[in-house]
């Protein structure tokens, strides 16, 4: 366990150093432009797994939390010209509060009812934003990037590094939860909520906490998207594709371990970026759907399940 922690944090340092080095050495902006999207999906998928994987409450409202992150940033820029760091921190706070509210309203529902409620939430918030002139309304809003900060020479490279930091924060938190009492409690309530409750697990409190943390991380992951695109409109910020992609990435990677959604997001995110360049961005959705069906049928526990299953079989021999 302790050895694992040392290895994990060494990995984090190597990852961040590699990202920083890349921003200094690579001239072409395109890898950062594409890589940003992949890292963003890593944050969203890892965050989704806290509630959707560990607790087994399938959240279809990823787009709601993502969009709230985007529009918190938009609002802060419009009203106060707030810097990027402030945008992200405030977006996380708003996302966490939204998670708390949604949790209080919906976490007493089980299974599909919870999922439907989260879809409804996304629609309600999107409608609100669409009718809010100050943040652009239905037409959307153009945003001006502030000057980039050294040591970065372009804003996209800086955003890429910032999103890498968010990946580290999201993964570290999720990993901590997995190894903590909270992780064991969530796993217990996913297996059997009544038995967990009668064994002393405060199920409602744990679910709320999971919803708050998950929501905060999703909104934080969405906040830099405003500056990334220099544009925000409700249609794209609250696009249901975010929910579907994140769900697919987490499930295909496997939700029993934090590494699952990381693998899933990198794999599918990269595939999507390649397809978008080589064929068209519309094909993305098709490929995503086909892969999800294949995995649900052939490997319901995702890549993590496949790997541990193989390792287990080898161990038995």
């Amino acid at each position: 366990m302790k050895k694992g922690s040392i290895a994990f944090w060494c990995g984090v340092v190597v990852f961040l150093a590699a990202v920083l080095l890349m921003t200094q050495l690579v001239r072409n902006e395109y890898p950062f432009f594409a890589g940003y999207v992949i890292l963003q999906f890593v944050v969203l998928s890892v965050a989704w797994t806290i509630l959707g994987g560990y607790a087994g409450y399938v959240n279809f409202g990823t787009n709601a939390f993502f969009g709230v992150g985007v529009y918190t940033a938009v609002l802060l820029v419009q009203a106060y010209r707030a810097p990027l760091g402030v945008q992200i921190v405030v977006a996380a706070a708003v996302g966490g509060l939204l998670g708390l509210g949604v949790g209080l309203l919906t976490l007493r529902m089980r299974g599909i009812f919870f999922s439907i409620a989260t879809i409804a939430l996304a629609i309600i918030i999107e409608t609100t934003i669409t009718n809010w002139r100050f943040v652009g309304g239905a037409a959307g809003i153009q945003l001006q990037r502030p000057p980039v900060m050294p040591p970065f020479d372009s804003y996209v490279k800086m955003l890429f590094f910032v999103q890498a930091l968010l990946v580290v924060i999201a993964v570290a938190i999720t990993r901590f939860i997995q190894h903590s009492r909270m992780g064991r409690g969530l796993q217990a309530l996913r297996d059997d909520e009544l038995a967990a409750e009668c064994t002393g697990v405060p199920t409602l409190r744990l679910k709320l906490l999971a919803c708050v943390i998950s929501g905060a991380l999703m909104a934080a992951g969405g906040a830099p998207a405003a500056m990334y695109l220099q544009f925000a409109n409700p249609d794209s910020a609250f696009n249901l594709n975010y929910s579907v992609s994140v769900l697919a990435m987490s499930l295909i990677g496997g939700t029993a371990h934090w590494i699952g959604p990381v693998i899933g997001a990198i794999l599918l995110g990269t595939t999507q970026q390649l397809l978008a360049v080589t064929i068209s961005s519309e094909v993305n959705v098709l490929v995503l759907g086909v892969m999800l069906v294949l995995f649900v049928v052939a490997a319901p526990k995702g890549i993590i399940g496949l790997v541990t299953g193989l390792a287990g079989r080898r161990g038995h021999k």
Partner: protein, 248 residues
């Protein structure tokens, strides 16, 4: 039966009524269970035994009446807070945490137990879990997934998990259903050994020899009403009990 002094009652059910729509599952139940008592709960199928257990453990809220535990009204408390106060249960159909090992199941209980400060570190909790498993006779299965357990092992695992919460009252809901004769004796011996000065046990059971051997007092429910309460032999001899069971 002489009424026990009020402070001696560990659990007091006070005018408890629970209905589902128009169906009255429990109708004005009154009973007291003493500290360390071995209490048998019998009655035909559908007589309200499990509903009563659900109202005591917090899985259901009664429509009327109160549940008092150690002198305090726990009627509004959720199940997890009741568990922290010392009410533990097993389920009629075993409900293990299926993605975990046997040890993992017990660790859930110890992780969230009210006596957590006694088991500050993970290592302490692990030791405590292992000592319970040893006592129950499941130590060799500690690292086995619950899906690989036999029926009797599952029953024992549920009792072990309930014990890991540190209960003052353990409710065993038909822990012997579907077991062979030798297994019934095994689980019964286990239950008797688990009880004692500090742990009262409510045992719901259909197997009469087990109830007779186990219980200090027996209560018989029929159609949501208490039809007999007292010493096992007395209750069995009661014509209403015989009628409820045999339909004569």
């Amino acid at each position: 039966m002489t009424a026990p002094a009020p402070e001696a009652a560990l659990l007091r059910i006070d005018g408890l009524t629970k209905s589902f729509g128009g169906f009255v599952a429990l109708d004005n139940i009154n009973v007291e269970i003493r500290k360390g008592e071995r209490f048998g709960l019998i009655g035909p199928n559908g007589s309200g035994k499990t509903t009563l257990v659900n109202c005591i453990s917090g899985a259901l809220r009664p429509n009327k009446g109160a549940v008092l535990f150690a002198g305090e009204d726990i009627t509004p408390l959720p199940a997890n807070r009741r568990s922290h106060r010392g009410i533990a249960r097993s389920f009629q159909l075993p409900r293990p945490f299926r993605s975990m090992t046997v040890l993992g199941n017990l660790m859930v209980a110890l992780d969230f137990a009210a006596h957590g400060e006694l088991f500050e570190t993970e290592a302490h909790r692990r030791d405590a879990a292992m000592s319970i498993l040893t006592r129950i006779g499941l130590a060799p299965k500690a690292l086995v997934a619950t899906g690989a357990l036999t029926q009797v092992e599952l029953r024992k695992m549920e009792l072990a998990r309930a014990m890991a919460t540190g209960p003052k009252l353990l409710i065993s809901d038909e822990a012997m259903a579907g077991l062979s004769t030798s297994e019934v004796d095994e689980v019964l011996d286990l239950l008797i050994s688990l009880g004692g000065e500090n742990i009262a046990i409510i045992m719901i059971e259909h197997i009469m020899q087990a109830v007779m051997r186990f219980s200090e007092r027996v209560m018989c429910l029929d159609a949501g009403k208490v039809i007999a309460l007292g010493a096992p032999a007395e209750v069995m001899a009661n014509p209403r009990v015989q009628e409820a069971y045999l339909g004569t």
